[in-house]
Amino acid sequence: MTEPLSGGSTHADVVCPFCGLGCDDVSLTVQGASVKAGEGVCGRAAALFARSDEPAPSPRVGGKDVSLEEALRAAADLLSSARSAVYGGLGADVDGVRAVIKLASKTGGSVDHYASPGMFRNLSTSQRKGWIATTIAETRNRADVVLVIGPDPSKAFHQLYAKVTPKTGRFFEGPRKIVFLGGEPTEEAKAQLEGSSVELIAVPAAELVNALARLHTLLAGGKPPVGDLDLAPLAETLKAAKYSVLIWSASSLEADGDLVVERAASVIDTLNVEGRAACLPLSGKDNLTGAYHASLWNIGFPLRIGFRDGVSDHDQQAYATENALKHADVAVWTSSFRPEQPPASDAKLIAVAHPATRFASEPAVFIPVGQPGLDHGGLVFRADSVVGLPLAKYRDAGLPSVAEIAKSILERLS
């Protein structure tokens, strides 16, 4: 920590909790409540870390400023009489997720994370059939061939190529080969890919499933049906690779994304008969991965969980937030990483949310909370699911954590 001339403190090696890549080279300058991100941070994260020195807004009930205690009581009253509660957003550190799940287990209702649709596309394959996956460090060091499937994932994971696929790796000679199948790198990505050997194979989005099926047929020694797309050279590249990694961001795939993922997993399965390959499926914004993990180890299911009479269950359709909201009378929206707007619904809204959140209509209860990794410490998970990231506190703006609020509401239930 240093004290720059302008006052305030500069913190180095701050862990970024937003996209899930887990960059830990952010620098933050904090002066009073104001925050500015310095070197090493991508544009998206810099904007999310930035704070003015305006004081935090007050909690509100029905649009009126109230004390925190009044807001907690109002939230507890609403939840105590809720017939069907929905816990959405779930943008919180692991402690926050634990506390929200605990609260939901007492009030009844469903729990889901707002960024989970991409994850469930991945689970449609991993849960029912399985796959061989890998992590960031393995990819960095081993993956001589990387196949990027569909739209460039770096639109959501900005530092992807700089962090995960630098031009060379410890266990292979020469530059890394990156093949884009059905997508192309953004301008920012091109700069990160400099020095790697980049190849683009144009595939219309609607044809991606078929292209992967063709690739699989070729790898399995079969003959794909006659078509324009010649993937034989790609098949040979993958077969010759020491360790190929297939990367995709499921949330940027089209509606048939679950089939894309399934075909990609088959490609990997076949490659592993004679050689080595694995996938790096990216999804994990705002600690989605940590919420998934905490839900599995506490409840036994990967989010979209429901509680009734003290027993839990899991339904990937009914407990998806958008479906559950159709029948909800109370919605609890948690979003501590960014001012994510809650979806519209007829349910009475309790927003445990980022102070800068703009609401389409005033929530019944609004309790501003701090950001994990800025206003309080905590644990979030990286998008590859293995690595947990420790977050620290860098300022005191008087904002409580999601965990504190959820526990306090629980204590006030009648």
């Binding site: 090696d13 862990v15 887990g22 960059c23 830990d24 080279d25 692991v94 634990r98 287990s105 689970l123 991993s126 849960q127 029912r128 059939k129 399985g130 796959w131 061989i132 996956a133 890998t134 992590t135 960031i136 460090a137 393995e138 960095r140 060091n141 081993r142 962090k163 995960v164 410890r170 266990f171 020491k242 360790y243 592993n272 050689g275 080595r276 694995a278 993990h293 905490a294 599995l296 180890w297 506490n298 409840i299 036994g300 299911f301 990967p302 509680f307 009479d309 003290g310 027993v311 839990s312 269950d313 899991h314 644990l379 998970f381 699911s385 293995v386 690595v387 947990g388 990231l389 420790p390």
Partner: protein, 552 residues
């Protein structure tokens, strides 16, 4: 001050030679005290007709971490079928072979277990392990750190950096991951699979580093000895599940060269190739080797029939096993230049020749290893069976008639290939107390657990003295954790949390700079982010750091 007197029970404390001695056990402020240590008010627990033992200790049970979560993900039918019933102490979870954190603590506690150790902490996943273990109530926990496939270590050994550098690295990793012992899984084999090797023999060279499993094993045995860790290397050897691996296991016993070595789930490493099906029991040979080598201890990894899920860091083996997955799905993962995992759901069937013989091999090992202080009761939960089968296993060991009945149900071909029917031994209650309490405490280096002497932790269990030993050990009449009653008449009555055990041997600080560079260049994030801070363990409450010869 809090004080409890447990009166009238038959005390079974093998550490102090007490076998059914009727005496009071007094717990004062969470620790066992002399019978006359308390003058003031004291809560009394009537244990008349009961058997009083120390809290049981599971030395090897996969209760937390990434692979447990993948198991839960893959086994959603089990999760749907088995839900924790609602109640005051319910955690709203479920599962059996994939039991959730809160339920794990409850079911272990009801059986009288108060300490359970996670034997496969992958360093890069250690933070997850600790976060999950924090949500397991009642149990003291701790993790064994998986080393021996990590690229940094293999590079150290291959480049001739020397034993001292290895020791410093091991100590650095233990401190960074807040773990308590070193586990090796398929030494060098998980790493070799990343370079596309499919098998790894004890004296075969890693395709990249050109060092052998034997070298890795011997180097790490030396490291834990020189650092002064209480628990020896906890080894999952080469060739798990491969017919003929009995020879690898015997060679591994020799490779220890008289140094302490704990060989885990040995049932999976005791297979011969005799008979029509080229699959036979190696239990007699392995047990003989264990009997002759006092430096060796084992746990069994008993198989029980039924659905479970196998979860292992040994992706090389699990990739071989993928074809027998049941249901037909499996997940593998290479992890962080560190290790891997492979999760394969599996149903052991009594009509299957191989599965039934695995069952018999485990029991043969239990009955043929003579010294109960060097063998521990495990099913390698959930790999051989869920830990909830322990009471059944105890009855199989204690009751020959019952065992013979079960054996008689197996296919004739299996009975022809096993000597189980000829084995007359029945474990005594004292021996059960040894293999579930006293001996695990001793091999883990705990001086204040596994016994009922003054100063020991107040983890005490009262069982009914029931002739049906399965019923006796399924639920305890009383279980106390640190002197508080947590189970009464087999039901949870209070919620308390245990501690996390760690070691922190000292290391040469020049290792910091080396690892800073390694993390920056290879791993891709900072060593300081990787290191787990004290406040991350149970929110800074409840860590126990054990002394080592080279303590910081």
């Amino acid at each position: 001050m809090s004080a409890v007197r447990i009166t009238g029970g038959k005390v079974l404390d093998p550490c102090h030679g007490e076998v059914g001695v009727v005496r009071d056990v007094v717990i004062k402020d969470g620790r066992i005290a002399a019978a006359d240590a308390v003058d003031g008010p004291i809560e009394t627990i009537d244990a008349k007709g009961g058997v009083v033992m120390a809290g049981a200790i599971d030395i090897h049970s996969h209760i937390a971490g990434g692979k447990s979560n993948i198991s839960r993900l893959l086994m959603s039918e089990e999760q749907r079928a088995i839900r924790e019933p609602a109640g005051e102490f319910c955690g709203c979870g479920g599962g059996l072979s994939t039991m959730t954190a809160h339920a794990t603590g409850c079911r272990y506690a009801e059986m009288g277990y108060t300490a359970v150790f996670e034997p496969a902490v992958i360093a890069s996943n250690a933070r997850h392990m600790h976060a999950e273990m924090k949500d397991i109530p009642f149990l003291d926990t701790g993790g064994y750190l998986v080393l021996g496939n990590d690229d940094f270590l293999l590079d150290l050994i291959a480049s001739g950096a020397g034993q001292q550098a290895v020791n410093d690295y091991v100590a650095w990793m233990l401190a960074a991951t807040k773990t308590m012992a070193i586990k090796i899984v398929n030494p060098g084999g998980i790493n070799a699979f990343k370079f596309n090797a499919r098998f790894m023999q004890l004296d075969e060279k890693n395709p990249h580093y050109e060092i052998t499993p034997r070298t890795i094993l011997q180097t790490l045995i030396k490291a834990v000895t020189e650092l002064g860790l209480a628990h020896p290397i906890h080894l999952h050897g080469c060739n798990l599940g491969v017919p003929g691996n009995e020879q690898t296991t015997l060679d591994t016993v020799k490779a220890a060269e008289g140094m302490p070595l704990h060989m885990t789930h040995v049932q999976f490493h005791s297979y011969g190739t005799e008979g029509d099906r080229k699959f036979s029991s190696g239990a007699a040979k392995i047990a003989e080797a264990v009997n002759k080598n006092p430096n060796i201890s084992i746990d069994v990894g008993q198989v029980m029939f039924g659905q479970t899920v196998t979860a292992s860091a040994d992706l090389m083996s699990q990739h071989r096993n993928r074809g027998i997955a049941s249901p037909k799905r499996w997940i593998g993962m290479d992890m962080e230049m560190d290790a891997a995992c492979g999760i394969v759901p599996f149903a052991y069937k009594d009509k299957s020749f191989v599965n039934a013989l695995q069952w018999a091999i485990g029991l043969e090992l239990f009955l043929l290893v003579e010294d109960p202080w060097r063998i521990y009761l495990t099913t390698d939960h959930p790999n051989g069976a869920p830990f909830t089968t322990y009471p059944h296993l105890i009855r199989l060991l204690m009751d020959k008639d019952f065992r013979d009945e079960q054996f008689a149900k197996l296919p004739k071909s299996v009975r022809k290939h096993s000597i189980l029917g000829e084995l007359k031994r029945e474990y005594t209650l004292e021996e059960i107390a040894i293999v579930t309490r006293a001996a695990p405490a001793k091999i883990l280096g705990f001086t204040d657990r596994g016994h009922l002497g003054a100063g020991a932790v107040g983890d005490v269990v009262v069982y009914e003295d029931n002739a049906d030993r399965e019923a006796m050990f399924t639920t305890a009449r009383y279980v106390l954790k640190d002197g508080r009653v947590i189970v009464k008449d087999g039901a949870i009555v209070d919620l308390v949390y245990g501690r996390t055990h760690q070691v922190k041997p000292d290391y040469d600080k020049s290792m910091e700079a080396r690892l800073d560079r390694w993390f920056d260049e290879a791993v891709g994030y900072k060593a300081k982010t990787f290191k787990i801070a004290d406040h991350e363990i149970r929110d800074g409450q409840g860590a126990v750091v054990h002394a080592t010869a080279r303590s910081a």
